[in-house]
């Protein structure tokens, strides 16, 4: 079986985000990018399935420009066998559905039998793409999975469904599984892997190569447009209490209860 891992690059979680000139996007010029952390769990799960010889091959699927190659190479360095980068001027401005169409087409083209993705990307936090990919392919889908077992043509997935309740979902492959934190501990690359990854060719597929109608993706196919971004309100300055300790404690408790409303 071939596992496809949907992998997106996002701004590093400690970056300071600036809004670009248009007011409807991010100024990425100074941003340090990294693999979306939830996608790292998806990748690790795929690599473990390969290590266990359940999967034959792990292929990374990324919608993105050439600036995302470094992240793809990072995934290759950790042990993914192949990667395809999905890039076309027509993809610009895609909403979640557009991205899902591109990924679904790539998964089909590569003969993927299981798609692993992060449960959400930490930049947009939409959590939509994996479900849409599943719908487009007509495959079953389980979200927020933190444990997965495969057995022949079927899977068993564990998920946290809130309030400490755990769901166990079974189904048949092919399927789309989206990964939660705690599923595994992502591995580091090996130095040798880094060297090998440098030499791998990463094919780029455009809309034509994927058999996609350009009007169904990108801004042309988008049902959602982003109109306006704004900075969150500036945090009010902190307060430093002074005086005797017992009275400061009292004041602190009052403030936490009445002002901060955290008690």
């Amino acid at each position: 079986m071939i596992i496809g891992v949907c992998l997106k690059q996002v701004p590093a979680s400690d970056s300071r985000i600036k809004i670009d000139g248009s007011g409807a996007g991010v100024d990425a010029s100074d941003l340090k990018m990294e693999i979306n952390p939830y996608d790292e769990f998806a990748l690790e799960e795929a690599l473990k399935l390969k290590d266990a010889k359940v999967a034959k091959k792990v292929i990374v699927l990324t919608v993105g420009g050439s600036d995302s190659e470094q992240r793809i190479r990072d995934a290759l360095a950790r042990g993914a066998d192949d990667a395809v980068r999905l890039d076309d001027a027509a993809f610009a401005g895609s909403d979640s559905l557009g991205i899902a169409r591109i990924l679904a087409a790539a998964a089909q083209k590569e003969g993927v039998g299981l798609i692993l993705a992060g449960k959400q990307a930490i930049d947009d936090d939409n959590s939509q793409v994996p479900a849409m990919v599943a719908e487009l392919l007509g495959w079953p889908q389980v979200t927020v999975v933190d444990k997965l077992e495969l057995d022949g043509g079927s899977f068993k997935a564990w998920r946290q469904s809130g309030g400490g309740v755990r769901d166990v979902v079974t189904g048949s492959l092919p399927a789309v599984i989206s990964a939660d934190k705690g599923m595994n501990t992502p591995r580091y690359a090996k130095l040798r892997g880094i060297m090998m990854a440098k030499r791998k060719k990463i094919p780029v597929y455009d809309a034509a190569a994927l058999g996609l109608d350009p009007a169904s993706v990108g801004a042309a196919g988008a049902k959602v447009t982003q109109v306006n971004w704004s900075e969150p309100p500036a945090r009010p300055p902190g307060r430093i209490l002074s005086g005797e300790v017992p009275s400061m404690v009292k004041e602190l408790v009052t403030l936490l209860r009445d002002e901060a409303k955290v008690l």
Binding site: Q70, A77, Y188, A189, K190, L191, I194, M195, K198
Partner: protein, 600 residues
């Protein structure tokens, strides 16, 4: 947020100043490119912060213990080292034919700097193993290599270096451990070793000791020392390493710092004698060890520089946060206090640390790159080039070791000072970094021994003085064609070089007229004098690149201005100190020579 281990500091040196891509063009390193190496450094940084840094305090607080004759390390040490091994950091510097990656030495030193800056004692186990594998690869027989090389390179077995003895530290010529040949071609060793790092631990499958010992009838002194491979565990009939060799840790040394790396009194062959195998030729053991000496000493200089750097980054972060006092011009107690970095005296302390740490890192990486350039020249069959690079390398090595550790320690102390009272507590790592760094002037040849090696052997006997002068002159010539600050520093450096040149000529005369005793009496100030001159050269090189990048508008302007400020600091505050050292060298100031032991 202040980055604790900014890769940019290393990349600026490696890529922009030292032009690493030149050694990647052909020969042994041609499989690498700058981007791939950058990814490796990124990974090393992440791993250092995630695996090595968090356990450094605990490893310091809970020293290794001897339980039933076996060393028990802190339980977190093994898994962290395993992660280091699994990533390929032990294998990487070795040749591809043995499963390595032919990683350039300078790059591997950068990788080690990231780990050393946060947890040097832990890195030491891996460092010894890499050195042991290198020693075996160059000097071992094919048969020995077939059995022992792969497990060392794969990091399944760890290595140690057992040279020192209680009465033979600086003077290895006096070592007494005996090796007796056996009919089967092996040897039985007996002797007491001292200060042996990692002679036992509980995480590797086996330990391979490289032991210096004497054969029966061997000549006295250094020409009668041979090198032996002595395993902790020998193979049984089925090839499993289960048979205990006759070696034993007799005690653990309780050290000031570097506590995470176990240092032992090591007893060899108390019973029937320990089984050992000869490595290389009889009586050529010290020669084989010294073959690795440049690398080993650069490694110590690197560790010292990295600890200074790690402490500086900590002090910098603290100084940006800690609120205390107000500017002298605004002593109004109703105004809020300011971060201490706003006080000039605190910035002075930070500049001192930065100038030392980044200067030492540069010197060490420059020397490491000479190792690489020498290998590239040898691979291309260019013996003349290899020899000239080698001479400069031999000359800089004692400086890289001793200057970085002496002055690096000053930086480590400065980091404590920036933190004030907090710096003196164990709630912050700077006191540990200081204690760890205090080792570096002592081991791998004390700095006193390095100074004599520099002046007596490298500069005068081997003609390294000329090689060094040429390299300095070349930098001065280039610097005087560059931006305004470079031109000023080139001029200042040129004066310092004149001083070094005339003093060295004078000392050559002293060697002729008064003999080595007088010549070497003040070797230590000579090393400081030449060391400061060489580090000023390094800062000139950094200035040239920083000025060029600022003029071109490439690179981070604040970072580059910081480089220029550090260079100015070094030239204004440090280089003038050479006058004091010069004053006791010409003529040789005789108080230490003449003072009687009874008077002290």
């Amino acid at each position: 947020m202040t980055d604790r281990l900014p890769l940019r500091d290393l990349q600026f040196l490696l890529e922009d100043v030292l032009q690493m891509k030149e050694v990647l063009q052909e020969g042994p390193y041609a499989d690498h490119d700058v981007e791939g190496l950058r990814s490796m450094l990124e990974m090393a940084r992440e791993m250092a912060l995630e695996h090595f840094a968090p356990i450094a305090d605990a490893m310091d607080a809970e020293e290794p213990r001897l339980v039933d004759g076996k060393v028990k390390l802190h339980p977190a040490a093994g898994p962290a080292l395993q992660a280091f091994v699994d990533a390929g950091f032990v294998a990487a510097p070795h040749p591809a034919e043995h499963g390595g990656l032919d990683l350039p030495f300078a790059v591997h030193q950068c990788i080690q700097a990231l780990f050393a800056a946060v947890n040097s004692p832990l890195l030491t186990y891996a460092g010894l193993t890499i050195a042991a594998a290198g020693l075996l690869d160059v000097h071992g027989s094919e048969e020995l290599k077939a059995e022992w090389l792969a497990p060392l390179i794969e990091g399944r077995f760890f290595g140690t270096m057992a040279l020192s003895e209680p009465h033979a530290g600086s003077s290895l010529a006096d070592l007494r451990t005996k090796a007796t040949p056996q009919p089967d071609g092996t040897y039985r060793l007996k002797g007491d070793k001292m200060w042996i790092t990692g002679a036992d631990q509980d995480f590797s499958e086996n330990i391979v000791h490289f032991v210096l010992a004497r054969l029966p009838g061997a000549p006295a002194g250094t020409r009668g020392i041979s090198l032996f491979l002595v395993p902790k565990l020998l193979a049984d009939d089925s090839g499993e390493y289960t048979v205990e060799n006759d070696v034993r840790v007799a005690g653990i040394n309780h050290k000031m710092g570097f506590r995470g790396s176990v240092n032992t009194v090591f007893s060899i062959g108390e019973n029937q004698g320990a089984v050992g195998y000869l490595v290389g030729d009889e009586n050529r053991g010290l020669h084989a060890m010294f073959h690795m000496m440049n690398e080993a000493r650069i490694g110590v200089g690197l560790c010292a520089a990295a600890l200074a750097w790690g402490g500086y980054r900590h002090a910098l972060a603290y100084a940006r946060e800690r609120q205390q006092g107000r500017p002298v011009s605004l002593r109004d107690a109703t105004r809020p206090q300011v971060p201490i970095i706003q006080h000039a005296d605190v910035r002075r302390m930070l500049l001192e640390q930065k100038a030392i740490a980044e200067g030492a890192l540069h010197l060490v990486l420059f020397s490491a790159m000479l190792v690489d350039r020498q290998r590239v020249a040898l691979a291309a069959g260019d013996q003349a080039k290899a020899a000239s690079v080698g001479l400069l390398l031999d000359t800089l090595t004692p400086i890289a070791k001793a200057w970085s550790s002496d002055h690096g320690l000053r930086a480590s102390s400065g980091a404590i000072q920036v933190l004030g009272g907090s710096g003196y507590t164990r709630d912050f790592p700077v006191e540990r970094l200081y204690r760890d760094n205090r080792l570096n002037p002592i081991h791998e040849g004390t700095n006193g021994i390095q100074a004599m090696d520099l002046l007596g052997r490298k500069i005068l006997a081997k003609g390294g003085g000329m090689a060094l002068m040429q390299a300095l002159q070349d930098a001065i010539d280039r610097g005087s064609q560059e931006g305004p600050q470079s031109r000023v520093h080139a001029e200042q450096l040129s004066k310092a070089v004149e001083t070094v040149a005339s003093l060295t000529m004078g000392l050559a005369g002293v060697a002729q007229s008064d003999g080595p005793e007088v010549l070497l009496a003040n070797a230590t100030p000579y090393l400081h004098l030449v060391g400061h001159t060489v580090v000023a050269w390094m800062w000139l090189e950094q200035t040239m690149v920083a000025e060029r990048q600022l003029a071109a508008g490439t690179g981070d302007a604040d970072f580059l201005r910081g480089k220029l400020a550090s260079a100015r600091y070094f030239y204004a505050w440090e280089l003038p100190k050479t006058a004091v050292w010069a004053s006791v060298l010409n003529p040789v100031e005789r108080t230490p020579l003449d003072v009687h032991a009874d008077w002290l």
